[in-house]
């Protein structure tokens, strides 16, 4: 991964080491107890996911968080269930303020799909994601969103972006 090697160029951890460190993820048993299908409210994941969509969640993911996949997780401060896309995973470098920060071995950077300008035009405010509450501990992730089963016109897989 490009950003991982650039982190090592800048005196950060050597490429690959973080991904080999043990990660504190919530156990599969805990995750299986969480919801496997969810309804979406609010608009920060437009256009990929609209408010009112019904989605299936896969808690059995072995390798994650994978960059580009959509995940359900508990928001760090409120513990409310939320949905965002993984923008960066453990050990990755993310732009922050005027510089960047390197995510820890058990942290993910979760962002909204919708652009601020679109939300503003729709009368909504800024998306609330890692830019607001910072890195999300991997153990707060519950599952990967993989399928939309309603509304009928938009049934289909939820793609992973690159």
């Amino acid at each position: 991964m490009a950003s991982r090697s650039s982190a090592s160029d800048l005196g950060g951890p050597a490429a690959g080491t973080l991904s080999q460190m043990p990660r504190r993820t919530a156990s599969l048993r805990d995750r299986l107890r969480e919801p496997w299908r969810v309804a979406v409210t609010e608009a920060s994941m437009r256009p990929a996911i609209e408010p009112g969509d019904w989605l299936l969640v896969d808690p059995t993911v072995a390798r994650w968080p994978r960059r580009g996949s959509v995940v359900v997780f508990r928001e760090p401060d409120s513990e409310e269930l939320a949905i965002k896309r993984v923008a960066a995973g453990p050990g990755d470098r993310v732009p922050y303020a005027d510089g960047y920060l390197i995510l820890g071995a058990d942290e993910a950077w979760l962002l909204s799909d919708a652009h601020d300008a679109e939300l503003m035009a729709a009368g909504l405010g800024e998306p609330v994601d890692s830019r607001r509450y910072g890195p999300v501990p991997v153990e707060l992730l519950i599952g990967r969103v993989w399928f939309r089963y309603a509304p009928i016109g938009r049934i289909g897989r939820i793609a992973r972006t690159r």
Binding site: P35, V38, A39, W54, L55, E75, E80
Partner: protein
């Protein structure tokens, strides 16, 4: 069909969380709390009773905190970078007013509370200069 639909409906809701600002802003909110501080200082000076004075200080502290809150909301949420062209000293206005709130918390001098009112009036002028009155109040501001 309805039973089928019910069976399909997920029991859990996830938020694709974004802010939902009401878009209503007015420096008057901060000013009213600052006026409370002003009046409390007046009443404090006119009453020697220890219990009354203790209560007055505590309530002034609360009201001053609300001034800060309302100023911050106005600063962060209403004012946008483009407003800086019209009001180049915008950040200074808010910084000074917020610092003055801290001063009002610690002081029982009426002049400090008056200075805060004047500073909020400057912010009010900036809000009006950027069209705040027409844009953010439902039917314009009364008066």
């Amino acid at each position: 069909m309805s039973r089928f639909r019910r069976w399909l409906t997920p029991a859990t809701i996830v938020r694709a969380h974004c802010d939902l600002p009401c878009g209503v802003y007015d420096p008057e909110q901060a000013r009213i709390e600052a006026e409370s501080c002003y009046r409390i200082v007046e009443k404090y000076a006119a009453n020697e009773d220890a219990t009354f004075r203790t209560r007055a200080i505590a309530i002034k502290e609360e009201r001053a905190e609300l001034v800060k809150h309302h100023l911050d909301v106005l600063w962060h949420d209403y004012f946008k970078p483009e407003h800086l062209e019209k009001v180049p000293n915008l950040h200074e206005l808010f910084w000074n007013a917020n610092k003055q709130v801290s001063k009002v918390k610690a002081s029982t001098d009426l002049a400090d509370a008056k200075k805060l009112l004047d500073q909020i009036d400057e912010i009010d002028a900036a809000w009006k200069a950027t069209g705040g009155n027409e844009k953010t109040r439902v039917a314009g501001r009364p008066g």
